[in-house]
Each structure stands twice: as structure tokens, then as C-alpha cells.
């Protein structure tokens, strides 16, 4: 009989190899029948699988289609586990406030980041698009989030990110919050220039940065 570690490994590689949902469903059901904790299935199996997906994406073996499909398999798996999660508590990695800045109404990149951040164990408060700087400040205060992830697609709207950072300073919370920038118009130089903590060139890199920040604490 397979050990629990073997089961987690199989779940992780099934996700990594983008095998169909039926195989994943079977693996998860078998694990539950054996009394494996749903939380552990997520944390040691599915999240590990997601890390492997991220590695393949960074290595240029996987592309957007593969990321989205992995996210879809992961969501289906979590749906199977949901009834069992009522009795177990998942420890959240951290809280992220997320949004596209004022004047910009693009959300594809933001939504992909959200999907992967949640799958990686973060609690995400998505404020949507065209978000007023004060709304970011309010959400950070209310949720106690230590990470603000902002997105902007356009070169005409990225300066709004600087305005948001100014608002954080005025509200006296800048030093408590790590600021991550994303979106097509953003560069690492720009992040440095406006006093953000980091810029991510894609969702996978963004999640890795957030995980690193949480681990550093």
C-alpha cells in the first residue's frame, strides 16, 4: 500500500502532468477513504503540484493554456474536498489586497494572479478594476493584509501606482505593507523608481515573491 507521502507525490505529479480530472478525482477519493486529511491533500499534494507547474512555466515548458488548465484541475479537486474542509482549518499563508489601479479596467492578468494566489494558500481580497487609491488603503486597514498587489496594463495608467504608494504613506501604513506591481506596462526599474517593493513580470513570479515575503517574516 502507498504511504501518505506517495499519495501526495502522485497528486502533485498528476497535477504537474495535467492529467485529466478523472484521475485526480480518483486519487483524491482514495486518499479520503484512507483517512488522509483534506488539508494535507491540498497543502502537500495540490500545492506542491502547483509549484511544479510554476517551475515548468518559468522554464518555458508550459504556457498560459497549461497554467489555466492546471488552475481548473485544482479548482475541481478543491470542490471534491470542500465538504471535508468544514471540519479542518487551512492555515492561510497570508492576506493579499489586489486590484487594478484607477483609470485602468483590465483584469486578465489580475484574475490569473488571483487564481494562483488562492491556490497557493493566500486569502485574496480582490477589489476589481479601476480602484480608487483610498479603496486600497481602506481594504488594507480592514483586512490587516501585509501585501498589496496592484496591476496596470497601460503606460498611461502606471503612474497611478505611485499615487497609491503616496496614499499608503499618508495613511501611515506604508512600512507595514509590501507592495507588488504587475501588468504589462510595469518593469522592475519602474517599481524601484516609484518606491514599490517588487514587480512581477507574470503571475507565477508574483506568487513566488509573495511566498518569499511571507517566509521572511
Amino acid at each position: 500500500m502507498d504511504s501518505e507521502n506517495d499519495i501526495f507525490q502522485m497528486i502533485a505529479t498528476t497535477l504537474r502532468d495535467l492529467e485529466n480530472s478523472n484521475k485526480m478525482k480518483q486519487l483524491i477519493n482514495n486518499a479520503i477513504l484512507r483517512g488522509v486529511s483534506a488539508v494535507e491533500i491540498i497543502e502537500k499534494g495540490l500545492r506542491r503540484g502547483l509549484e511544479l507547474i510554476g517551475q515548468k512555466y518559468e522554464a518555458g515548458e508550459y504556457f498560459l493554456s497549461e497554467l489555466l488548465y492546471a488552475g481548473s484541475i485544482m479548482n475541481d479537486a478543491i470542490e471534491i474536498l470542500r465538504p471535508y474542509l468544514e471540519h479542518e482549518k487551512i492555515i492561510k499563508k497570508g492576506i493579499i489586497v489586489l486590484g487594478t489601479v484607477r483609470g485602468d479596467i483590465h483584469d486578465i492578468g489580475k484574475n490569473i494572479f488571483k487564481m494562483f494566489a488562492e491556490a497557493a494558500g493566500f486569502e485574496v481580497h480582490d477589489l476589481g478594476v479601476d480602484v480608487d487609491p483610498n479603496a486600497f488603503v481602506k481594504a488594507l486597514k480592514e483586512t490587516g493584509a501585509k501585501i498589496l498587489a496592484m496591476s496596470a496594463l497601460l503606460t498611461t495608467t502606471i503612474l497611478e501606482m505611485k499615487t497609491v504608494i503616496e496614499h499608503l504613506k499618508q495613511a501611515g501604513i506604508r512600512s507595514n505593507v509590501k507592495v507588488l506591481l504587475g501588468g504589462n506596462a510595469v518593469t522592475k526599474e519602474f517599481a524601484k523608481e516609484i518606491g514599490a517593493d517588487a514587480a512581477a513580470l507574470d503571475a507565477v513570479e508574483g506568487i513566488e515573491i509573495c511566498k518569499k515575503w511571507v517566509e521572511e517574516k
Partner: protein, 391 residues
């Protein structure tokens, strides 16, 4: 001295021209800024002459403002000048209507069936957010497909008299003549939205096969008459695709080979059989991982080669030689900065690619609105000097 058309044609076929052509795509947002900054609007005004009928008894020539066209004013060579007048959109069109309006937004059903939200404020500087797409699954695709009938007579203009069009396309010299085609990735992403479309390659591959098969049939049969009539009087095919981001292509080479390549080959073979072999892929982002396949598919040119996505025309030229003519690749950020940074960027690209041929310099995508008129003039003056060949 060559005409703009002769110059562009010579260059994209890797023949020597009197100088390099120069191409820029200037969006309305940038033009409006420039007019505010002193660009004389009357010098870039495009006028259409019509006949004005007053009271039914007089017939006077009337000038009607139709657009701003800064190409001639700056001495830009227009590579997308005379278009083959085909309608490759859904027919009948969806009825446009506003479904929501607030102080800040306007949300509407567009003619393609997409529901788009726009910011009212500074709408010129923004692109819409797509709220929903007309194709979501097999059922909605089957419904949509009915609108993509190549035999619909509205696809060609009412005045489609072949001999007249042959004469126009034969004699035109102000720029190159062009046929616009939407590649299958662009087609699917427009109908379903990028996330859903990308996901369907895994979740419902049969749907993707059906879509690509219909795209191929629809494209070939719609363009057939124009292509077989005009043949190589069409200088260039503009193959809109937009299949990549900064990280790389949205779909893997594996999916490209499996789903796109066979149909792409059949469409480009049809074009080539009719002596049209300059087919330029328009895709932002980093396309390096699929360039081998794009060439195998029949693509022979590429625009805009965005520098901040890691594209470098010199590397592409070295790797692919004359298999691809290249357009763009001047880093927009360097042009915005101006001065020495701009000059070094322009010089570093043109000095190398002028020698190899098959290169049309230009900013690597649209001229961004933050590029001031002063900066653009400085860039234009400098780039034009670099276009000349040593005598």
C-alpha cells in the same frame, strides 16, 4: 527615387531599395496629445470629396473631414495603405446597444457580440474591459458560426467590379496594398476571451478542432475571389494574431503544432498559389518560442517585435536569415526618453539590419501617448537620416 510602394515591396522581398522604408502606427490618443502640443491639425487632415446636393437643383463638390492621417506629414511609409475591402466580421452584425451607463462607465454590446465596458474619462487612452464574450461553449459556437458564412454577399463591396479593382491595385503607389486576415488564435480569443479560449485547448479539444476547421474554410472562401482576382497586386498580408505576452506565447508550441499548423499551412498555401507570399504576423509579446512553427506555417514577416518583451530583430535575423522580414523593434521607451538613449537605440538596430535587408524600422508597437511631439520629431529627424544607404 522609388515610390513608397516600390520601396516597401523591394524591402520585404529582401531586394535593395533607394532607402529603408520607415513605418509607424500612431493611435488617436497620441495624435490628440500632439495636436494639443502644436501639431498643425490642418496639415494632417484627411478629406473625402463627395457631391453635395442642395435643394435637388445644385450639385456641388463638397469636402468632408474623414480622419487625421499624419503619415505624409512626417514622411512615414505606410505599409498598410490600400486595403482589400472585405468584411470578415460576423454577418449579420449584432445590434449595438448601450446596456449600462454611469458617470464613469459605459457598457455596450458591440457589433461582434462582445459586451465591453469603457471608461468615459480619457477613453482615448484606454482599451475596453470585456465583460462577456459571444462564444462560451459548443452551443454558442454553433449559433455564432451561422454568422460566419463566406458566401454572404455583404462580404464584398457593392462596387466589386474586378477590372476596376485590378486597375486600382495595379496603379496604386502611395504605400503597399494589404489584405487583413485574423489568425486563428486572434479569432478564437476575440470570440471567447483569452482565458476561456486557452482553457478549451485542454477542456474541449473537439470544439477547438471544429473552430479551426471553420476558420480555415471561412477565411479561404471569403478571400478567394479577391485573392484570385488581385493575386500579387496584394503586396502584403497582415496576419493579426496577438498570441503572446512578455513571458512568451500564450499557447505552447505543442498546441500550435497540433491545432493551428495544419490549417495555417492550407491558408498560406492558398495565398502562395496566388503569388502572395509576404505574410506578416502581428503579435505583441515574446514570440520566440513559436517562430520556427510560424515560419513552417507560412508566415514570412513579423511586427512589432517589442523590446521590453525580449524581442531583438538582430537575433531573429541571425537565426532565421531571410525567412522573415522584420518591422519595428525600436524600443518605445528609448524614444520617449529621447536624446542619446534614443539615438543609440535607433543606430544599434538600423546599422546592423540595413546591411542584412528585409527590415523596416519603427517603434515597437504603437507610438505611445506619453511620447511628446517634440520627442517624436527628434526621433523622426534622426531615424530618417539612418534610412539612407551610403552611396
Amino acid at each position: 527615387m522609388m515610390t513608397p510602394r516600390e520601396r516597401i515591396k523591394a524591402t520585404i522581398h529582401f531586394r535593395k531599395a533607394d532607402r529603408l522604408p520607415w513605418y509607424e502606427s500612431i493611435p488617436p490618443a497620441t495624435l490628440v496629445n500632439w495636436i494639443r502640443q502644436g501639431l498643425p491639425a490642418d496639415k494632417i487632415t484627411k478629406i473625402e470629396w463627395t457631391m453635395f446636393m442642395g435643394d435637388g437643383c445644385i450639385l456641388l463638390p463638397d469636402d468632408k473631414f474623414s480622419d487625421f492621417a499624419p503619415t505624409e506629414y512626417f514622411g512615414i511609409d505606410n505599409i498598410l495603405s490600400l486595403r482589400v475591402p472585405l468584411d470578415l466580421g460576423p454577418l449579420p452584425r449584432f445590434k449595438m446597444r448601450i446596456i449600462l451607463e454611469t458617470d464613469r462607465y459605459i457598457e455596450m454590446i458591440a457589433e461582434t457580440g462582445v459586451i465591453a465596458r469603457r471608461l468615459k474619462e480619457a477613453y482615448l487612452y484606454n482599451m475596453p474591459m470585456y465583460v462577456s464574450f459571444p462564444v462560451k461553449d459548443r452551443k454558442s459556437w454553433n449559433e455564432y458560426k451561422v454568422r460566419l458564412n463566406p458566401k454572404d454577399s455583404r462580404r464584398y463591396p457593392k462596387d466589386w467590379h474586378k477590372d476596376s479593382y485590378i486597375e486600382i491595385f495595379e496603379n496604386y503607389q502611395a504605400g503597399s496594398t494589404v489584405l487583413f486576415i485574423t489568425g486563428f488564435y486572434g479569432f478564437g480569443a476575440q470570440l471567447m476571451g483569452i482565458p476561456t479560449f486557452n482553457l478549451m485547448f485542454y477542456k474541449d479539444p473537439e470544439l477547438i478542432y471544429d473552430m479551426v476547421s471553420h476558420w480555415e474554410y471561412f477565411t479561404i472562401e471569403t478571400i478567394r475571389d479577391a485573392v484570385e482576382t488581385l493575386k500579387d497586386r496584394i503586396d502584403l498580408v497582415f496576419w493579426w494574431e496577438d498570441l503572446a505576452s512578455r513571458h512568451g506565447p500564450n499557447i505552447s508550441p505543442k498546441l500550435y503544432r497540433k491545432f493551428l499548423l495544419p490549417s495555417y499551412k492550407r491558408v498560406t498555401n492558398f495565398l502562395k498559389k496566388n503569388k502572395i507570399d509576404r505574410i506578416m504576423m502581428d503579435s505583441d509579446g515574446n514570440t520566440m518560442a513559436i517562430l520556427d512553427l510560424a515560419i513552417e506555417a507560412g508566415i514570412t514577416g513579423h511586427w512589432p517585435l517589442e523590446v521590453d518583451s525580449g524581442m531583438d530583430a538582430r537575433i531573429i535575423r541571425k537565426k532565421y536569415g531571410n525567412k522573415l522580414f522584420l518591422v519595428g523593434n525600436i524600443d518605445k521607451r528609448a524614444v520617449v526618453k529621447g536624446g542619446k538613449v534614443m539615438m543609440e537605440e535607433v543606430e544599434s538596430k538600423i546599422s546592423v539590419l540595413k546591411e542584412t535587408g528585409g527590415y523596416i524600422p519603427g517603434i515597437d508597437h504603437i507610438v505611445p501617448p506619453e511620447c511628446t511631439l517634440e520627442r517624436f520629431k527628434e526621433y523622426a529627424e534622426y531615424v530618417k537620416k539612418q534610412l539612407l544607404f551610403d552611396s
